[in-house]
């Protein structure tokens, strides 16, 4: 997974469709932002149909990570700095 491999992540969904991933974030996280494809979360350019939902929960960031052979993973990573940066985009 490239730089994602070095993260301490939790997989919330695996081998999902992009839509399942977006619906999961909107249904399970009260706080989320919509970003365009190619938007950078950590060092990952997110892949998907716009709008792409990124979930926020305290210091945790929840984002889709798509691979050609394995579909979309929904990853949950703790990083207060990144969560703050993303939260600021809502304003």
């Amino acid at each position: 997974m490239g730089c994602v491999e070095s993260m301490n992540y939790e997989i919330l969904l695996r081998d999902a469709t992009f839509k399942e991933s977006r619906d999961y974030i909107r249904e399970h996280f009260r706080e989320f932002i919509d970003v365009p494809p190619g938007f950078k979360v950590f060092d990952v350019h997110v892949i998907g149909l716009p709008p792409i939902a990124i979930g926020l929960e305290g210091n945790f960031v929840v984002f889709p990570y798509t691979k050609p052979c394995h579909g979309t993973f929904l990853l949950r990573v703790e990083d207060g700095e990144e969560a703050t940066r993303l939260r600021a985009l809502k304003k």
């Binding site: 494809p37 950078k40 350019h45 050609p68 052979c69 394995h70």
Partner: protein, 160 residues
């Protein structure tokens, strides 16, 4: 191949081929065929795929008679997103949900004319998911590349 003179008013045209998972056999064959047709039209093809998809192509064409530049898919997405590089045409190989996601992403981040090459057992269901601007070239092709090759010839994307 006819010689093509490149001048500052006539910069080389480029096409990015975004490969999907190589689990459907026709992908490698169609990619090499499309590369051949683009090159014949004076368009430089660049391939972006994951390691398995790229290795299949490099193994099939070890002396690079057809292949030019080959790059990692994540790197290609990063370069286009960061406005470091772009292409005139972009062909995205689609046989699963991830392929649709990559095509939508290319449509959003790149100025290239976008082509969705849709194939595989469930090509008709995948076509319904494509609701963004692009030219769709589709056929039910899994092991036999001829239906997709025929669809590509009819669309003639190198001529547009």
């Amino acid at each position: 191949m006819d010689a093509i003179t490149i001048t500052s008013e006539n910069p080389p045209r480029t096409a990015l081929l975004v490969l999907g998972c190589p689990q459907v056999p026709v992908q490698t064959s169609i990619a090499l065929y499309l590369i051949h047709r683009l090159e014949r039209a004076g368009i430089a093809p660049i391939v972006a795929g994951n390691k398995a998809a790229n290795t299949l192509l490099l193994t099939a064409d070890p002396e690079r008679h057809y292949l030019g530049e080959v790059m990692d898919l994540d790197r290609a997405v990063a370069m286009i997103s960061d406005k470091q590089r772009d292409f005139d045409r972009c062909f995205v190989f689609i046989h699963n949900d991830a392929g649709v996601s990559y095509a939508a992403t290319m449509g959003a981040i790149s100025r290239a004319k976008l082509y969705a090459l849709v194939y595989g057992e469930h090509y008709d269901e995948l076509m319904k998911q494509i609701d963004f601007p692009c030219t769709t070239i589709a056929a039910k092709a899994v092991h036999n590349p001829m239906p997709l090759r025929k669809a590509i010839e009819e669309a003639a994307p190198w001529a547009a």
